[in-house]
């Protein structure tokens, strides 16, 4: 009791000084483990990859210094760089927003008072767990032009289903549709976010006479914006680096229509044995993602609502 009283008076008198310093100390104590890990395990490799981008490095033998030749080649003479970047941006622009909306809708559906909720939630989570061959196989069927379910349903409403993965124009849309399947992950995050919305806000809204749509728009959506923002940023960062499903399903085909950036990077590194060039590509991608993310953070203050924004000093 005495100690706290002393503390209270001390802080009131030297508010700007000691408290701030103590808080800063605590800050660094809490983020200490992460910071130490960054320095120990990541700083070296990141710097290494940056310096490797200035070399030709077959990995099987030592690197050879070439200066900025790799970057000059990427921007100048690499015929695939533009195409790969376009493919990836195309993918990101469609799969991220669609994924966010779909995951949110499903999460809200799964937060209603319906029976067998845990079962439904588990079922919707399954596709994001199943990896590799199974995904490739099932989606080859669903999208098969002859007997796939997707074209079957399109036929029912009178549209002739396209060749999906075997046509250069529809291959990427097919992969975008496929990516929507793995919304289970984002859905789980939204479910967690929905749990965090205080009930009294809903009660207050109902007392004010708000219907379900108005409640959704004025209570659920604003309170979910931090979670939506998280999924947006992670979606951008993740889908710019999408690799596995493209590697398994199409390996860049047909005719490079689904060749994404990291798939191309992987090829350059492990099929052409040019890790230096691959590092250059990686850092270019880093710049692109950084710019897009910064734009999102800048725009966030217009639509993301935090109960407790991380206050500035």
């Amino acid at each position: 009791m005495e100690r706290t009283a002393k503390l209270a008076t001390r802080t009131r008198r030297r508010r700007l000084g000691a408290t701030a310093r103590r808080e800063e100390r605590e800050l660094y104590l809490f983020i200490g483990p992460w910071l130490i890990g960054l320095v120990l395990f990541y700083a070296g490799p990141i710097v290494a990859s940056a310096s490797m981008s200035l070399t030709e490095w077959p990995m099987l033998s030592s690197p050879r210094w070439v200066g900025f030749a790799n970057y000059a080649e990427i921007l100048g003479s690499d015929a695939l760089f533009g195409k790969v970047l376009f493919n990836t941006v195309y993918y990101v622009v469609f799969s991220v927003p669609l994924g966010i909306i779909l995951a949110l809708v499903i999460a809200i559906l799964l937060n209603q008072k319906v029976r067998w909720l845990p079962l439904f939630r588990t079922i919707y989570y399954i596709p994001s767990l199943v990896t590799g061959v199974s995904v490739a196989v099932v989606w080859s069927w669903l999208l098969n032009p002859q007997f796939g379910l997707v074209n079957h349903f399109l036929g029912l409403i009178g549209i002739k289903g396209p060749n999906w993965l075997f046509d250069t124009k529809t291959a990427m849309p097919a992969m975008i549709i496929m990516s929507l399947w793995a919304v289970g992950g984002s859905m789980v995050i939204y479910l967690a976010g929905l749990q965090g919305i205080p009930q009294h806000l809903y009660e207050a809204a109902e007392i004010d006479g708000a219907g379900s749509w108005a409640r959704f728009r004025n209570v659920t959506l604003p309170m979910m914006t931090p979670t939506i923002f998280f999924n947006l940023i992670m979606g951008i960062i993740g889908s710019f680096q999408t690799f596995t499903q493209f590697f398994i399903m199409t390996n860049g085909g047909p005719a490079n229509a689904t060749l994404t950036y990291v798939l191309y990077l992987y090829r350059v590194a492990f099929e052409f044995f040019r890790m230096g060039y691959a590092c250059g590509l990686a850092w270019m991608l880093f710049l692109v993602i950084l710019v897009m993310t910064l734009m999102q953070f800048w725009g966030a203050r217009y639509w993301v609502y935090y109960e407790a924004p991380a206050a500035r000093r």
Partner: protein, 307 residues
Amino acid sequence: MGDPAVALERDYEPLVKRTLVQRYWRESKKVRHAVWLTLVYGLLLFGSAVFIIPLIWMVSTSLRPEWEVYSYPPKVLPNFFLWRNYPEGMTRLLPFPRFLVNTMTISVGNVLGNLVSCSMAAFGFARLRGRGRDFLFGLLLSTMMLPPVVTMIPQFILFTRLLGWGNTYKPLMVPAWFGWPFGIFLLRQFLMTIPVELDDAARIDGASTYRIFLRIMLPLIKPALATVAIFAFVGNWNNFMGPLIYISDMTKYTMALGLRLFQGQHATYNQHYVMAVSVVNVAPILVLFFFAQQQFIQGVTLTGIKG
């Protein structure tokens, strides 16, 4: 039902004149609710059918003999019931039970490490003030923006040559105790939805920062913690790149890596075994997820601030 508006109306009904239209509105509310329920169930069921197809196909294929795996046109529902594919697939060619134990070890270890380090760092970024905090947060996000392929080899050299952790699980488990950007970012977002008044109230009561962290913040973001746990668990469960690069002793392989051994240069052989093992691979996570839901979803958070 517990709809307060309706209850209110019912209580005051004798005092309020009800026109025909108003009565119809009340009735249609029930009808509307029924329609709403059917819509929800319908969508859920339709979506479930689509989302559960891979699991059904995996189970059907795992029960077929090898020459029935590929059929034209393909069949989703099981038509054979060769249960012995499971014990055979798990033991005959590769020691999958051993791999399962290995995978479990790595995943659980990682989950613990991630929970501890991510919650600490997230609390720091969300609640504490200091110089360079926003810059460091930007750095945190930036580390996720570089494709890990290019840092893979320098990191490998770091772990095996400098630290001598080659052929152990250390490179796969130790970094988890030093933070995970995904988890830190997620928990920070959730922590920023908790009102500052709680902190202030606690401080006035004399709580130290550590007490606030442990006793107030953590319990309030239980759903988010559970989410991080799930993602950490699943991410490590399916991760084959890490074990591939660092492990050279085949007895230390994981399930994901073992499964990849079935995919040969020209074709995937023994698809029926692959599917049997895949089902065994997915089952623990599904079971865990199914039961873990009671823990984190039913726990509705109340901020405890009286209006």
